[in-house]
């Protein structure tokens, strides 16, 4: 079984080496691909020195485009399992085992590590928690399953999900729409409680005006998505 660890990274030179080293230590069987999303710092060079395969995008595509690049990389390599780990160090690679378990047991096609279902030590700022909560409710209604965290980029997927996402993945701020996509294509989603760390470097990219755009864009995508016919069952 070929396994890929996809690490999207935009200007994460200070944390990327640590992430790669931790991945290698905890999961040596994974092929690590760092998708450098048009970074202007040393992210690519640092990641390469740390021993990861690096795919450098010619300009910044945004998280959706970067992740999809990694998924396409995994598909071309014939990987049947992929995990997605943020390059900023907030996802603890030792938690990957929890993400893989439902997939290896054949109970889910995609797993999402969530901060809210579990140990409950994560405290986001109020506005963000409200935003996440509202989308979690809406998405839960659409996918007819309780979803608590629609923003987590700590995910694992099997071959079917790799196939789907390589073909179709939302462009920017993709997590909410991807969750609905999983449901619409009749793949099985499981949320797994994980412990996340505080970001080693940097802050959330979603602040101020961008959060308005985020809310508008994601709401619009969800609404219009409901107007589309449900895709035929995947092979």
């Amino acid at each position: 079984m070929r396994k890929a660890a996809i690490v999207p990274a935009f200007n994460e030179a200070r944390s990327i080496a640590g992430v790669v080293a931790e991945l290698q230590a905890s999961h040596p069987e994974f092929e690590i691909v760092v998708v450098d999303d048009g970074s202007t710092d040393e992210t690519a060079a640092v990641a390469r020195r740390a021993g990861a395969e690096v795919v450098t995008l010619p300009f910044n595509l945004g998280i959706g485009g970067a992740v999809q690049t990694g998924i396409e990389w995994a598909r071309r390599r014939g990987c049947d399992l992929a995990v997605q780990v943020d390059g900023d160090g907030q996802h603890d690679p030792r938690e990957i085992e929890k993400l893989l378990q439902p997939i290896l047991a054949g109970q889910a096609d995609v797993t999402v590590g969530t901060r809210f279902a579990g140990d409950g030590t994560y405290r986001a700022p109020l506005a963000r928690r409200v935003g996440i909560g509202v989308f979690a409710r809406i998405v839960s209604l659409i996918v007819r399953q309780r979803v608590t965290d629609t923003t987590s980029g700590f995910r694992a997927m099997n071959a079917r999900a790799i196939e789907l996402f390589a073909d179709e993945y939302p462009f920017d701020y993709p997590e909410v729409e991807a969750t609905v996509l999983i449901f619409r294509h009749r793949l099985r989603l499981a949320e797994v409680p994980v412990v996340m760390r505080h970001r080693e470097q940097g802050r959330s990219s979603i602040t101020g005006l961008r959060s308005l755009y985020y809310m508008g864009k994601v709401s619009l995508a969800l609404f219009v998505g409901l107007l589309r016919p449900r895709p035929a069952l995947a092979k």
Partner: protein
């Protein structure tokens, strides 16, 4: 009043709803990305509010010194269209910059593989 503001409300609201419907349909058919539809939708919603809520339109006309309130509707529409156009100019600029980068990278990549082929041929 010398004009029929009731009819104006109806015509303006109808026109806005048609535009919003077309925008939604374009997104649904994946011919328009959500990120480029947002400004149109905001424009449409503002126009819809002004068309239906006459008090707001009159207050706006009064504040802007527009004697004939329905003209304020045109004014607002014109402003929003300008914003949309300016936004597109920035998008176009970004795209042409990215297009240049892509062409350059591709050309360098191709000349690199051609050089490698030439090298192979010489070696053979």
């Amino acid at each position: 009043m010398t004009y029929s503001s009731g009819r104006l409300t109806f015509v303006a609201a109808f026109a806005v709803l048609v535009v919003l419907g077309v925008v939604i349909e374009l997104i649904r058919r994946r011919r328009l990305q959500e990120r480029y539809a947002l400004l149109w939708i905001v424009t449409g919603l503002v126009m819809l509010v002004l068309a239906v809520w006459r008090g707001a339109l009159y207050a706006l006309a009064d504040a802007a010194g527009v004697a004939y309130p329905p003209s304020a509707l045109y004014m607002v529409a014109g402003l929003f269209v300008l914003v949309v156009l300016l936004h597109y100019s920035t998008v176009l600029s970004r795209l042409s910059e990215q297009n240049k980068t892509l062409a350059q990278r591709l050309a360098l990549l191709e000349s690199g593989s051609k050089a490698a082929e030439d090298g192979d041929r010489r070696a053979a």
